[in-house]
């Protein structure tokens, strides 16, 4: 699961001399919230809808509406855009994109291949991947367990489920209450709730939730 597997392409871009007004119009029309800024084939900056809206004069200004519109039609994105741009390579693991976004507190990353812009990946894209991973749209019994942080625990749980004919459609590991435990959420088909509860009843494992 690499960035290129879940990024959006082609990307809509603008140039440094595009007006703020025009940039906002493009965003609204295409229902997007950020635009990479290109000078020829070179990525020179990025603007978000939020940056543009905050660049506009406040409603309490003494400018007239006509003056405001004139100002916005003249203000170019190059005055507002952020540079250098944080990007990610298309062959990076998808969680690398997530880490970059979290660490830099940004909601989207232009994606490059050999230095050229080939796509864009956003928080929303990753969000959809999350629902996919947790099999949110699939039927089955969903069980959440608190398990000790020990080698082989996951293997013994999955084996117990498989040996009773259950099919695991998704499995997610999260941090537990402290570093000595983990929380594991598994979605299983082909088994009743009772059978599943019985299958995982092992030493040190607590069922937190089942539905």
């Amino acid at each position: 699961m690499l960035v290129k597997d879940r990024m959006s392409k082609p990307v809509i871009t603008i140039t440094p001399d595009t007006s703020v007004q025009e940039a906002l119009r493009i965003m609204r029309e295409n229902k997007i919230r950020r635009l990479p800024v290109m000078a020829g084939k070179k990525l020179v900056g990025i603007v978000t809808e939020r940056d543009l809206l905050y660049a506009s004069p406040s409603p309490a200004t003494t400018l007239s509406i006509q003056e405001m519109h004139y100002f916005l039609s003249k203000l170019q994105v190059k005055e507002i855009m952020k540079a250098p741009v944080i990007t990610v390579d298309e062959n990076a693991p998808i969680e690398e994109a997530a880490r970059l976004m979290a660490d830099n507190k940004i909601g989207g990353l232009p994606v490059t291949k050999d230095g050229e812009l080939v796509g864009i990946i956003t928080e929303s894209d990753l969000f959809k991947v999350f629902t996919e991973m947790m099999a949110a749209r699939e039927e089955g019994v969903r069980i959440t367990l608190l398990v000790p942080e020990k080698k082989g625990v996951l293997a013994s749980i999955t084996k117990a489920i498989a040996s009773r004919g259950g099919n695991i459609v998704s499995l997610g590991q999260f941090w537990g209450e402290d570093l000595s435990t983990r929380t594991v959420t598994i979605k299983v088909t082909g088994m009743s709730q009772e059978a599943l509860k019985e299958a995982v009843s092992q030493e040190g494992i607590k069922v937190l939730d089942i539905r």
């Binding site: 809808e49 309490a60 929303s124 590991q173």
Partner: protein, 214 residues
């Protein structure tokens, strides 16, 4: 992993009569982008996003001159622009259910309700952080992406093999495959030799899509 495990408790809220510029100030100061709106009885009556406030304008703008327009803009309140009929969730909803609701309705946050009472808020960002956890984004290890058959027992065989070799699974994620007969599994492991592992799982998987040390 339920909403209550990752939601923000005690969300900041506003009353409907608060002027827009004040609501914007609150958002900027608290670094948040959404405010649930509560009436005098602390009932949830709406929700307002930063964007709604920044795009706000009086609806009868055409008939107004510049001064009237500016006056009306300064008087607009949260109640004039908020979204009513708020989509909400509960503390005991599975996190991925909440995520599904957000994706399907194209919204970035859900107020968390206990009956009539607002007890928290869960946002796209909260879920996004869980995603990092799920894939062990900050942890080192051997990362494998495998195409496996959609069949009973596959995940069990995979985790069993890793355990037999003395490996520890740091993270595991399953994804849609290329078609309904297969799945993609990404697993991050430690304490296991790469070649030994690849050899051992060869018969279980359809294809090894990617291997890397991270």
């Amino acid at each position: 992993m339920l909403v209550r495990d990752r939601m923000s408790r005690h969300p900041i809220t506003v009353r409907p009569d608060v002027p827009i510029h004040e609501a914007l100030q609150i958002m900027r100061r608290e670094k948040i982008r959404r405010l649930p709106v509560l009436d005098e009885n602390d009932r949830l009556v709406g929700i307002v996003a930063e964007k709604d406030l920044l795009y706000a304008s009086p609806s009868s703008a055409k008939a107004l001159n510049v001064y009237e327009l500016q006056y009306l803009l300064a008087k607009l309140t949260v109640g004039d622009v908020m979204t009513r009929n708020v989509i909400t969730t509960t503390e005991f909803t599975p996190l991925e259910e909440a995520a599904k609701v957000m994706v399907d309705n194209k919204i970035g946050a859900l107020p968390v309700m206990r009956g009539d009472k607002l007890v928290g808020i869960i946002t796209e960002t909260d879920i996004f952080k869980v995603f990092l956890e799920l894939l062990g984004a900050r942890e080192k290890g051997l990362r494998l992406t495998l195409l496996v058959p959609e069949a009973q027992g596959v995940l069990a065989s995979l985790t069993g093999t890793i355990a037999e070799l003395g490996g520890n699974i740091i993270a595991l994620g399953t994804f849609k495959g290329e078609d309904p007969t297969n799945r993609i599994v990404t697993v991050k492991v430690e304490d296991v030799d790469k070649d030994k592992l690849l050899n051992a799982i060869r018969s279980l998987v359809l294809e090894v899509l990617d291997v890397r040390e991270v």
